[in-house]
Amino acid sequence: MSVLEFWRTHSAELAGLLWQHLVLVAISTGAAIVAGIPIGVLAARHPRAGAPLVWVVNIAQTIPSLAMFGFLLPLPFIGGLGGRVAVTVLTLYALLPIIRTTLAGMRSIDPALIEAATSLGMTPGQRLARVELPLALPSIVAGIRVASVIGVGTATIAAAVGAGGLGEYIFRGLSMLEPTVVLAGAIPAALLALTFDGGLTLLERFMRAALAKGRIRSVLRYVGAAGVAAAAAIGVTFALTRSDPATIRVGSKNFTEQIVLGELVARLIETKTSLKVDRRLNLGGTFICDRAVRSGDIDLYVEYSGTAHSAIFHEAPSTDPRQVFETIRQRYASAGVTLFEPLGFENTFAILVRGEDARRLNLATIADASPHSPGWQAGFGYEFLQRADGYPGLAKAYGLTFKGPPRAMDLSLIYRALAQKQVDLIAGDATSGLIEGYDLFMLEDNLRYFPPYDAAIVARSATLLAHPELRGVLQLLSGRISATDMRRMNHAVDVERQDPAAVASAFLTRSGLR
């Protein structure tokens, strides 16, 4: 599938994401302008008060964006999934260039002009409005240009917290291992950045020319009018697109199986009820999904019992599926979240090696592999490396050692890394369609080290009370999806490159659920 073809078949969605992206950047850059220029002016006028502010903003700039989303997510008002936290993060990033250029613009003004302004009897406010800001303006516009370009880039990451935008395609493409989809998001994002850069460069040049001719005031009037018009347009669309209360927000984590399950649940609700569904798929991990369902940013998603048991509720590892399930059901209930009966398949961690190695060395279990592992390089996802029930415990239980420290890799790339012999052993998902796609072999967990990972829907109890028909519909899925079903659906998306929505829809039809 070519990128052009993808755009043609997804044109409405593309327009929506592009608009979301634009709005995110516009609002955050606007907020940074409103906050940044006064801070820059303050820093120029009172270096002692301003320097610490600039310092703090400098530090904020160095925080990686995903980490910043993580920090801010649990906070009230600005936190929570979707637009708000994204706007906050983007605003923080946009602040620095604007403050810096305001400061530089103010400092570059000839001191004789400041003295002239003061001697003519201007108050500090009049001097700022009539002399300093107009003279610093081209420099400030340069800062706004840099800020908006950074904003376009950073906003792609906002998709990880469900704020939408072109990052949706990038993350979706990454988790589907589909470069076309990545490009479908990356190309418009790059073009958008170039447009902002080019447009604002022209404005900056135009302003410098106008400044040299003494016509900056009329330019300012036009720019001001354009700004007000843009703000009004964004305000109106925001008011019009506020989410409807009778909408169920379905979330998912950011890998294929989760996206397919998210689509599957979403379609089932759409077919069986009159409720609308807002898809918040592709959220950046367990932590974000859990926060979101508790805070009401999403209404439901599919979680795995073992993950909830250890990563969310920090219970000591247990290998009894029923006990694990009961424990988390109670813990969820006290947090106002309802745990449904398992969907029927387990997505445990799968320790994988290349099929050819397994056949050559006659490997069947993880224990079989431990004599060979000192000559191997291992690759694990970030979560697996950290979690108590992940790598540290596994290595101890089976006495595994490797050639060097395991490589931390993104889950979407790890299967290919194994197939291409960059690593020799990985931890993946037992239900991944790529296991067959790349001819990988899953070693049996013969010591039953991994806890059970039964997939089950978790939903806000409040939502279930508000929409009683929902509970019955969600229960339809209990025990209906086998491991084979799941692996087949993952294979269809990851290997056969089918659309997750189409795969989910086909499954519902096949199972007689629609």
Binding site: E115, A116, S119, G121, T123, G214
Partner: protein, 265 residues
């Protein structure tokens, strides 16, 4: 060295336009002015002459309260500058700077109109006054008003600077080396203009210059500043005859050039 003019001003009932009483000012530990006394009467043109760094520009900045004295008082119409609202004070004192300080982002007309607009004049009044002033300094408003300062010659810029300082008809004009950066021909033209304008507007003027010839050309009285003090203050004729060691060196270039000292007193 005290002349009859100084005596007359001291005996008048109305307060002097500008008066320095024992003013001292330090920049850090370095004294800039020490026990500085000066009285400027209404309608006078006083030129302060001295070498670079003698403290001449500081005197102007003390008058419009860009600086305040460490000791002593500076009075403007009998009221200490520290008792004035600084913005109101500065709007009464037209100021022409050494580097002119025209705002590059405003047209010539907008530059001239600054103080009237700050004072909230009606737009027709502002326009009329701007036109009047540009004509006064010899720059036809229709031609020069819309231009940018960058499109003017040095002499034209200086004329605009004078028009701007006169805009709200302030009783006092402070001029800091106003013609310092100009070529001799333009400078002498502007000296001529200056006298013509002063004949029309009758302002109290304090002008700072390092050039004794300029002082003789423009001033009714000349003050010599050296080492942070006013060492001489008299009519030009008296200054020209001075035997003071601190005054003679400033006169030397004039005598060497064989220039005839004009009696402008």
């Amino acid at each position: 060295m005290t002349s009859d003019k100084v005596d007359r001003s001291a005996s008048r009932d109305a307060p002097a336009e500008i008066e320095f009483r024992g003013v001292s000012l330090h920049r850090g530990e370095t004294p800039v002015l020490r026990g500085f006394d000066l009285t400027v009467d209404r309608g006078e043109t006083v030129a302060l002459v001295g070498r670079s760094g003698a403290g001449k520009s500081t005197v102007l900045k003390l008058i419009n309260r860009l600086l305040v004295p460490d000791e002593g008082r500076v009075l403007v119409t009998g009221k200490a500058t520290t008792d004035w609202d600084p913005f109101e004070l500065r709007r009464r004192l037209g100021y022409v700077l050494q580097e002119v300080g025209l705002f590059p982002h405003m047209s010539v007309a907008q530059n001239v109109a600054i103080v009237p607009r700050l004072l909230g004049w009606s737009e027709p009044d502002v326009v009329r006054r701007t036109r009047e002033l540009l004509e006064l300094v010899g720059l036809p408003a229709a031609e020069f008003g819309p231009r940018s300062p960058a499109q003017l010659s040095g002499g034209q810029r200086q004329r605009v600077g004078v028009a701007r300082a006169l805009a709200a008809d302030p009783p006092v004009l402070l001029m800091d080396e106003p013609f310092g950066a100009l070529d001799p021909v333009t400078r002498s033209e502007l000296h001529h203009e200056f006298r013509r304008i002063q004949d029309q507007v009758r302002k109290t003027i304090v002008i700072v210059t390092h050039d004794m010839a300029e002082a003789f050309a423009l001033a009714t009285r000349i003050g010599v500043v050296a080492g942070g003090r006013l060492v001489a203050l008299d009519v030009p004729r008296a200054i020209a005859r001075s035997r003071d060691d601190r005054v003679r060196p400033l006169l030397a270039p004039l005598l060497e050039a064989g220039a005839a000292v004009r009696d402008s007193g």
